[in-house]
Amino acid sequence: MLEKTVQLLKVLKEAIRVENDGYHFYRIAAQKTDDSKGKRVFASLAQDELDHGSMLKGLYQAIEDAGEPKFDLKKWTKKKPRTRSKSPIFTAEFRGKIKGEHFALSALRIGQLLERDSIDFYSKNAKRAKHPELKSLLNFMVQWERDHLKVLVDLENFLVGKL
């Protein structure tokens, strides 16, 4: 296998790990959050990360099987983010009763750390990538994780009364 292919597989493997962390974290956050709308947001983020992970795994296997870094980017980037800033937010009742030490607030902040870490990972590797399709794929992921970050920041601001 070419060194270039090995490098590509390494980046994809790490990307799958990043998505796996997000998926499991948001899944638990959805389970633990009392608020119905909050649950939907975390579940939607979990589903996005699951989609990313599946896409990256499919790509990993396709490259591993072919033994060379050839892939059709359009095929792998068909899905669109389901979680947007205007997606359901926490209820006003929930905001009224939330206190500083609530799990939901911590989950939103931890989610932001995760998204920043993902953005950092994808940006760094997009810059390094020599393969143009891979570069585009990683930039596509950067944008998607930025959307997630914005959702989480908006939600935290909503809950602490800044919005």
Binding site: Y23, H24, S54, G100, A107, L114
Partner: protein, 171 residues
Amino acid sequence: MEKANQLLEMVKGAMRVENDGYQLYRVAEEKTEDPKGKDFFASLAKDEANHMQILKSLYESIKEKGEYKFDEIKDMKHILETASESPIFSKEFKQRVEQAQFEMAALSVGILLEKNSIEFYKKSAQESEEGDVKMLFSYLADWEGEHLRALVQQQKFLQDDYWTEARFYPF
């Protein structure tokens, strides 16, 4: 008074950092099936709760008296001395590590949180003018450094087998 307010903001930020860690480790403890893994996350949660208690006392002292009484904080040193040694995940757990997706994610998220805490405490220590406050933040930065080392150690213990066995499950 402005100085007191700045210090209050800093302590409030520290309480947020500790609370995030506490919430994560408590959920991780609850969700982990491995008994040694449970002890590991419980020990981290307990440490963060102890830090919170100290910071809360500091916050209340500044808020009520407009100044901090470090004698009270020093009296709480016994809390800091109870830091437990990190137990490790069991060998049995390692053998069925392909089922450990949540635990692996919890370790990674914990590592991210600890790195963030260390950065926050180091910055706060640098920005603090009072010697005692500086010392407290440096102390907390060191402690979170210990947590980070423990988490990385656990991750290494499980990681190699995890990826081989799991073949990227659940994707």
